[in-house]
Symmetry: C2
DNA sequence: TTGTGTGAATCGATTCACAGCC
DNA sequence: GGCTGTGAATCGATTCACACAA
């Protein structure tokens, strides 16, 4: 019996695995068969020591003096991310963002599949978005379908309620686009993507560039 | 002369400031005038020691034995983020996501303003999205307008080129939604928001929940 | 000789715990 | 008495640097 990944891959490493996998996929398409940590790190934009340390957490095997086999490493990382089986998504909230995501055709080739669209507005339920009919949360519950991942694109005030309903349904992973924190039981994973937060962080840098420039002048004499 | 924020707020702290500001805004609306670090931390979902340490980097003043004045603290954080002046945005790429963002009406109340929409497709240029006419990058250049922040919602293969054009225009902050890394000069800030990456991180947790459950059983005897 | 895998060292961020102030 | 602000301790993540395998 093999011992693929010993235990406990650090969160920081997990956060970089998708980037590694994307780079490896591109390299495969370019016909690259083998690559060194130095070169792969350059493609991804990290340091080679970090890449090697990250891969060591997967118990991954490169070949000393040679590098990594691209196909082998891709398979290792894909396996670690659990991409053997396709993951089903439900998108809740058919506003601008929800409709945009529901119409996005990049999920299927990456191993994800939108299996349900939900909204609470009777005017919206029954309409078709991206070739799929929008249903109510009650309809979803009755269908018995339990998507792997719930994508929440409702306004902030509705997000917690929707998340509670998804968790009650059995959904254990949530991607939250609402600009608010949501509470979930310990066994549920949530990631929040908030455009407003990102813009405010950029605003900070914008605001402090002036300071940096002033410091640079002082440093220069 | 006052010494507001000494120098160098840690990145991790900057990343949490938007959350603090959002919580404080809600508290203001609820009529809360003053709050302790313990209570505010509970609202935001961090530890109180972390909140106090974060605020100490801003040179912020609470009152010992009392807590923080909500209005005062809001102003401090807003000032640190540079929200005194409104920040202008250009959205490049009028696909599903670009149109959704361009139609989003949540920017204005938060201090951001979409001032230009750009696409390269002649079929799209001249059309109206969210009440604003789409122009070409050349049109934007000729207008002399230099938005504070460039929001890139193009396909991955076009993102680097668009970013280069924005940087050449004088844009110094980029919010990149394309699923790829973009190279920029040192003085330009980039934040990448990638839905595919977020989904893969959730896939990891989904895949490893089984392991965790098995471990829990073992622990239980 | 080359480049991985990894202990050791470093760096940064979080948490603790309490002195100091209201 | 209660809560902030902050040094000290801890924890985790990054980087260094080199032994070792091919």
């Amino acid at each position: 019996m093999v011992e693929p990944a010993p235990r406990g891959v650090p969160d920081a490493t997990v956060g970089r695995l998708p980037g590694y996998l994307r780079a490896l996929t591109e390299l495969t398409e370019q016909g690259v068969r083998s690559i060194s940590s130095e070169d792969l790190a350059a493609v991804v934009g990290v340091r080679s020591a970090q890449l090697r340390k990250d891969l060591s957490h997967l118990g991954s095997y490169g070949v000393r003096g040679v590098g990594y086999d691209v196909a082998m490493l891709s398979a290792q990382i894909a396996g670690e991310l659990g991409l053997a089986d396709r993951l089903s998504l439900v998108v809740v909230g058919m506003g601008n963002l929800g409709r945009a995501l529901s119409s996005y055709d990049g999920f299927t080739p990456r191993g994800f599949e939108v299996v349900a669209l939900v909204d609470e507005d009777p005017q919206v339920i029954g309409t078709v978005v991206g070739g799929r009919r929008v249903v109510s949360m009650a309809d979803l519950r009755r269908s018995g379908l339990v998507p792997a991942i719930g994508v929440v694109t409702t306004p902030a005030h509705a997000a917690q309620h929707v998340v509670d309903e998804l968790v009650a349904l059995g959904v254990r992973s949530i991607l939250n686009f609402a600009p608010c924190r949501v509470e979930v039981p310990e066994e549920v994973a949530v990631r929040t993507v908030d455009v407003a937060t990102e813009l405010l962080i950029l605003a900070f840098h914008h605001h402090h560039r002036a300071d940096a420039a002033r410091d640079a002048e002082v440093d220069a004499g």
